[in-house]
C-alpha cells in the first residue's frame, strides 16, 4: 500500500497525468534545492535551426552565456536528472581536483534521497572495492570470507563512486548492469522495487526494479595529466558504457557568487516540502493530503523515476538519419560502402532479369576526395570506433535531450502538466543530431576536430535527398522532422504499396526498382552523399527481395482494402521476424525500412 500514490491518483484516475505531475514536481524541486547550495555548471548549448536544419553545438566549458532564442542549455544538474530518469546511462564526470564534481553530485543525492538510501564511495589504491555497500566480510583462520547483504539490495537507491578509475572495472560494470555476482556464487539484483497498480491496488514489483542510480567521478588519467598518478585511463569496456562528461572549471564564471550559497543542511526535507508543494499545484490538490510523503518516499521515488515511463518512440526520419550517421562514422568507410553495394548487386542478380528492373547501386567512392579526407580526420579523432552500444547511447542521449527540452519548456508554462502532455513526445532527428554531438564529443580525447561539422553535413545531405525524393514520389517537399511518414524508406514503401493496384507484388517490386533508380541519380557530385544512397538502396533492394521471396504469402496477406495494405505488410513482416529460418538480412534492414 502506497498511501501517497493512492492519494495522488484519486484526483485524476489517470496514471499518465499523475506520473507527469510527479516527474515535473521532482525536477522542479531538485533544481530549487540544489541551486540553493550549488552553482550550476553550464555544459552544452544546443540549437537546432528548424528552417535551415542545422545544428549548433557548443561546449560551454563551465561559462554561462547570454541565452539565445530557441537554444537548449544543458548543465550538470540537467544531465544528472536525465541520467536518473533514463535507464543504463551512467554518468561519469571527469575533471581536475577541486572543481566541484563530488560536491555537486553529493548535493544532488542529499536533496533527492534520505541519507541511508545512497552511498558515496571514495576509491583509492587500497580501498577500491565498489561492492562494499552490498557485502560484508570477515577473516577466519587467515581466510577472507565475503557474503552478500541482501537487505541492502532493495534499499540502496543510488551510488556515487568517486575516483572510479582507481577501481576494478569488472565490479563497476556489475553495478552498472544492476546485477551482483560474488565469487561465492551468491547473486542479487540491485535497485528499488517499483509500485505498480494492479486490480485497484498498489503492489511492489520486485521483478522489474528501478535500477540503482550510479554516478561516478574521476580525475583525468595519468595519460592525460601526469599529476594524477594511480589514476588509470578507464578501459574501453567501461568507457563505452558511460557517458563521460568533461566537468569544467567554473571558478571564473561563478567568481565570488560561490561565497553566497545557502547552508548545506536539511536538503532532503526541503526537497520533500518543495515536491509536495509542486505536485499539489500540478494536480490541483491540497498539500496536507500528502502527509505520508516522507514515509512513502522511496516507493514514490521509484515510481516517479521509473525509466519505462519516460521512454519515447523515435521518428522514422530520425532512425534513417541516425543510420546515415553511423555509416559515415564507420572507421572503414570504403569497406562499408562496398558492402552496401554488394548487397544491392546481389539483389540485382536475383531480381533484375525477373522484373526487368535495376536495383544495384553503381556509384563509386573516391577515397582520395578532399571531403572524405576531412571526414576521415574527424572519425580518426575518436578514441574507439562506434559499436552497437554507442547506438543505444545515442538513443538514450536523444531521449535525455528530448526530455530536458520538454520538461524545461513545460515548466515555463502556467500549467506544466498539461503543457508537457501536449508537447509531442517523439525523438526526432533534431534530438538525434544533438545526441550525436555529445556522444562524438565524448569519444574524443582531444577536441581538435569538430564532429558537429560532420553532423551538419549529414543533416544537410539527408534532408536534401529526402526532399528531392519526396518530390519524385509526389509527397510534400518541405521537410518536417515531426511528420511520421517523412522518411525515404517509408515514402518508397508507401509509393510501392499505392502503385500495386491489382497487379500485386510484381508491381510493388518494380515500383521499388523505380525508386532505387531515382535515388541513384541524386549524387550531385557529393562524395559524402554516396554512402547514404548506397545504404538506402541496399535497404530498398532488400525490401524488394523480401517481397519477391514471399510473393505468394504476401499476396494473400495484402488481399484486403488498399488502405490496410501498409499495416498488413508490416504485420506480415513482424510475424515472419519471429519465425525460424528468416534470413538475418531482413531483420537487420527491414526493421528500420518499415519502421517496426
Amino acid at each position: 500500500m502506497v498511501h501517497t500514490l493512492d492519494t495522488l491518483l484519486q484526483g485524476t484516475e489517470s496514471e499518465e497525468i499523475v506520473h507527469t505531475a510527479a516527474m515535473l514536481a521532482f525536477i522542479e524541486a531538485a533544481h530549487e534545492v540544489v541551486n540553493r547550495t550549488t552553482m550550476p555548471t553550464p555544459l552544452y548549448s544546443l540549437h537546432y535551426d528548424r528552417s535551415a536544419h542545422t545544428l549548433s553545438f557548443e561546449v560551454l566549458d563551465g561559462k554561462a552565456c547570454a541565452p539565445k532564442e530557441g537554444a537548449t542549455y544543458v548543465n550538470m544538474l540537467d544531465l544528472l536528472l536525465a541520467s536518473l530518469f533514463r535507464d543504463k546511462m551512467p554518468l561519469n564526470l571527469e575533471g581536475i581536483t577541486g572543481i566541484g564534481k563530488t560536491y555537486t553530485v553529493e548535493q544532488f543525492l542529499k536533496a533527492i534521497l534520505p541519507s541511508d538510501s545512497y552511498r558515496v564511495l571514495r576509491l583509492n589504491a587500497t580501498m577500491s572495492n565498489v561492492l562494499q555497500p552490498y557485502t560484508e566480510g570477515k577473516v577466519e583462520g587467515g581466510l577472507v570470507k565475503i557474503s552478500l547483504r541482501k537487505e541492502e539490495l532493495n534499499r540502496i537507491a543510488a551510488l556515487f563512486i568517486d575516483e572510479v578509475n582507481r577501481g576494478d572495472t569488472n565490479q563497476v560494470l556489475m553495478l552498472q548492469d544492476g546485477v551482483l555476482r560474488l565469487p561465492t556464487g551468491e547473486s542479487g539484483y540491485l535497485g528499488l522495487p517499483i509500485p505498480r497498480r494492479k486490480d485497484g491496488r498498489w503492489e511492489m514489483d520486485y521483478e522489474t526494479k528501478r535500477p540503482v542510480f550510479v554516478v561516478s567521478a574521476q580525475n583525468p588519467s595519468i595519460t592525460k595529466d601526469a599529476k594524477y598518478t594511480g589514476a588509470r585511463r578507464t578501459d574501453a569496456a567501461q568507457s563505452n558504457r558511460n557517458v563521460t562528461i568533461d566537468a569544467p572549471n567554473t571558478a571564473l564564471s561563478i567568481g565570488a557568487s560561490a561565497l553566497l550559497l545557502g547552508s548545506e543542511n536539511g536538503q532532503h526535507k526541503e526537497f520533500l516540502q518543495n515536491f509536495r508543494r509542486n505536485i499539489s499545484r500540478n494536480l490541483g490538490i491540497e498539500e496536507r493530503v500528502l502527509d505520508q510523503l516522507e514515509t512513502d518516499w522511496l516507493p514514490v521515488y521509484a515510481y516517479t523515476t521509473d525509466p519505462s515511463r519516460t521512454q519515447n518512440p523515435i521518428m522514422h526520419s530520425a532512425v534513417e538519419f541516425m543510420d546515415a550517421m553511423l555509416v559515415m562514422v564507420s572507421p572503414e568507410l570504403k569497406k562499408t560502402f562496398d558492402y552496401e553495394k554488394e548487397i544491392s548487386k546481389a539483389w540485382q542478380d536475383q531480381l533484375g532479369a525477373k522484373y526487368n528492373i535495376s536495383v544495384a547501386y553503381d556509384g563509386t567512392l573516391t577515397e582520395t576526395a578532399i571531403s572524405l579526407q576531412m571526414i576521415r580526420d574527424i572519425v580518426e579523432s575518436f578514441q574507439e570506433e562506434i559499436i552497437p552500444r554507442d547506438i543505444i547511447k545515442v538513443k538514450k542521449l536523444a531521449d535525455t535531450i528530448s526530455l530536458t527540452r520538454r520538461t524545461k519548456q513545460a515548466l515555463q508554462s502556467a500549467n506544466p502538466t498539461q503543457a508537457y502532455l501536449r508537447i509531442a513526445n517523439y525523438i526526432t532527428l533534431e534530438d538525434i543530431s544533438c545526441a550525436f554531438a555529445i556522444m562524438l564529443h565524448d569519444k574524443q580525447e582531444k577536441h581538435e576536430q569538430d564532429p558537429v561539422l560532420l553532423i551538419s553535413t549529414m543533416l544537410k545531405e539527408y534532408i536534401e535527398v529526402s526532399k528531392i525524393f519526396a518530390g519524385k514520389v509526389g509527397y510534400n517537399q518541405v521537410f518536417n522532422p515531426e511528420d511520421s511518414k517523412y522518411s525515404i524508406g517509408n515514402l518508397a514503401f508507401q509509393h510501392a504499396i499505392q502503385g500495386m493496384g491489382n497487379n500485386g507484388i510484381p508491381a510493388f517490386v518494380k515500383d521499388i526498382g523505380t525508386s532505387i533508380k531515382e535515388l541513384g541519380r541524386l549524387e550531385a557530385g557529393n562524395e559524402y552523399r554516396k554512402p547514404l544512397l548506397a545504404r538506402q538502396i541496399a535497404d530498398l533492394s532488400t525490401l524488394a527481395g523480401f517481397a519477391d521471396q514471399y510473393t505468394t504469402a504476401l499476396h494473400t496477406a495484402l488481399q484486403g482494402d488498399i488502405s490496410q495494405r501498409t499495416s498488413a505488410f508490416k504485420t506480415f513482416f513482424q510475424n515472419k521476424r519471429k519465425s525460424v529460418g528468416i534470413p538475418d538480412i531482413y531483420i537487420h534492414r527491414l526493421t528500420r525500412t518499415l519502421g517496426v
Binding site: D49, S51, A52, H53, T54, A125, T126, M127, S128, N129, Q132, T135, E136, G137, K138, V139, G142, V144, K145, I146, G167, D168, N170, Q171, P183, G230, D362, G363, T364, T366, E367, T368, A369, I370, S371, L372, M374, I375, D450, V452, L453, L454, S456, T457, K460, E464, G520, R521, E523, A524, G525, N526, E527, Y528
Partner: protein, 707 residues
Amino acid sequence: MDIVQKSLDSAEDTWREIIRTEYPLFFHTPVVKAPADPKNKRHWMFYTDSKTTHMDVFQPELIETIFRTCIVPLYKNAYGNIAAEKDIVGRFLHDTFTYLYFHEQFHPTFCPDSTEDEKLVDKALYEGIQKADPNNDPKSILSKVGNVRNAAWDQVIDQAFFFLSGNNGSLEDRITQVFKENEIPPVHFSSLPDAVVPLFDVIEFHQYHENFESLYYPLSRAVYGFLFTRKAEMRKIIFDYFKKRTIKQMREQEFDDVLKKVLKGFVAELSPREYAHAQIDKNEFEKHVEHAYGHYGEAEGEVSHQYLNEHICFLLLDKRTRYAALKGFIQPFAKYISLVKEEKRHGSHISGSSSGDAASSINQEGGNTEQALQNLANILGPAEGNALLAAISNSGGAAQKDKRLSNLARDEYYKRNAKEIAIRSPDYRAVHVVLGKRKVPYFVSSQMIPIEEVPNLPLESILRFQQDTGITQLFEVSDFEFRFDIYDWHEVDDTDYTFENMGVEIPDNIIFHNDSSGSMGNPNYVGTKSPYDVLMHLDFGLLKTLRRAAVAMKKDPLIIAANFSNGTIVSEATKLSVFYDSPNNSTKNVLTGFQNGGTDYTASAFADIRKKCGPGKTVHLWATDGALNLGCQEATFRAIEETVRMPQTSFLYFEIGTKTAFGERIKILEKQYPMVKTYLGVSLESLQKSALEILIQYEGHSVRDLI
C-alpha cells in the same frame, strides 16, 4: 577601410554563414588576403590549393573604378536605375566577392575534388583534344591539356554554382536567408545579381585591350555569358559583350558554329547507358541548343535555356557522366587552345599552375602540363602511358619549360619501366630483434591494513594478480593486521638476437659513369631499346633498389654522375632522396644527358669525384657499349686501378650488348680485387627478366697484396 576591402571582408562573412549550413565541412577553410600592392602586375588574384583560399586584391582603387564605370552601367542598361550608385557599387563588389569565395571553395568540393577526379578530367580532355585532331602529336595534345585543364574545372564548378544558387534549391534559399538576416544594402536585393559569374570576366576583358593570343579564352567566356545568365535581357548584354570582342579576330559564322558545337558537345560523347542515367535524349538536347542559341536575348529562349542548364549541371556534377561530357565539350574548342599559354581565367586558378616557369629550386612544384603528364601516365593504359612518356621525353625543345617537361617524362618512364635489380652485399651479422612488448609488474608501495578492512580490499584482483605473477600481494602479518603490497604494470620490450645475412649494405657514395657516345644511340633514346635506353634501365633499376633499401635503413647516400663522350661531365653530389624523387636536378640531368660524340674519358675526373664524395663506402658503376678511345684507355685504366685500391670502394663494370678488350682488362682486375665485378653482355631482356644480380663488396685482399 576602403569600400573594396570592406566588401571583401563582409563577403567572407556572408559566404561562411551560407556554407555553415550548405557545406559545413568547408566552414573552417582558412582565407588569406594579401595586402594592397600597386606594383603588382595583376589587379586581383584568387586561388586555392584545396586547403586555403587566397583572395588577393592588389589594386582596390582600380577595382572600385572598374565597378563604377563598367559594371554599374551594364546593369543600368539591363534593369534601369535600381538603386543609388554608392549602394550598388558596394553591393556588386560584395556579391562578386561572395561568388569568388564560392568559386574557390567549389574546387575541393566538386572539381577537382580528388586526385582521381583530376586524372579522369585530364584523360577526358586528352582524348577529346586527340579526337578533334588525330594528327596532333602527343606533345601538342599534352600542352593543350595542361593549358586548358584549369578552365575545364572552372566550367564544372561555375555551372554547379550557377544552377545551385538559383532554381529553388537549398543554396538559393540559404543565400536569400543570409542576405535578409545580414541586411546587406540595398536590402531589396534579396539574392546575387544576375550574371555574377561572368561578371568577373567582363572586368578582365575591360582591362585587356589587345588581341587575344588564343581564342579559347574569349570563346569560353561567351559560353559563360550564354549559359550563366538568368534573364534574357542580361544575357543579351553579356553575351553580346563577349561576342563583339571575339569576332574582331574570327568570322561571326565560325563563332556561332563553335559555340553551338560546344554546347552540343556536352552530350556528344555519352554512351547509351549514360544517356539513360542522365535521362537525356540527344536529339531533344540539340534542338534545345539551337532554340536557346537562336533566341538567346528573348524570353522565347528561356525554357530551352533552363533545360540546358539543368541537364548540363547534372552531366557535369554526376561523375558517371562528367568525363564524357567534358570530352565532348572540349572537342570543338581544341584548335583554339593555346600551345604555349595557360587558358586560365585570369586570376582564378589553383596555385602551382604556371606551366613552364623556370625552375627556381629542385623541389619546385610542376606546372599544369607537368601535372597533367603525370596524371595521364597513371591513368592511360600501360602501353599508351609509356608511349606518351616516351614521346614527350624525346620531343626536345629549347625552352626551359620544354626541358623540364621532357626531363619529367623521361624520369617517369624509367621509374615505371625499369625493373629493380637485385643487389647483395655478403655480410653475416648478429642483429638485435624486438619481438614485441610485454607487461611486467613493478612495486609501488606497501600499506598495513587492519583486519576488519581486509574484506573491502579488491580481493578478486589481488587473487588474479597473485595467480598471474606468482607474487604475493597480501600477507597476514599478525592477528590484527595484513600487509598489502601495491603493484602496477608497465610495458617493456621483449628482445632477442639473431644472425642475418644483411642483404644490401648501402654505400655512402654512388657514382655512375655513363657512356653517352654516338654508338649508344641518340638523344631521343627513351623507349627505343638502344644501348643508352638499356643503360637507363640499368641505372634506374639499381637506383630503385638502392632507394628502397636506403629508406628502410634510414640512410641517404650521395649520388654523383659522370657522363663521358667527347669529354667527361661530372655533376655535383646530390643526396639520393632528392636525386631520385625530383625529376629536375643537375645530377640527374648529367646522368640522363646524351653527348652523342666519341668515347673519351678524362681520367682526372676520378680525382674530381673523390673530392665530392663524403666519407664512408663508395661504389662506382661504369656502363658502356664499347672500348674507350685508345688515347685515354691507359690513363683511365690506371685511374680505375688506383680507385679500387682505396679502402671501402667497390667498382662495377657493365658492358651493354657487347664484350670488349677493355672489358677483359677489367675482368683481370676482378681476379685481383674482389671488390671489382664485371657484367658483360648486359641486355634489356636480362634486365626486364630480373636475371641480373649485382654483388657489391667493399672489403677483400687483392691477389697482389697477398703475394
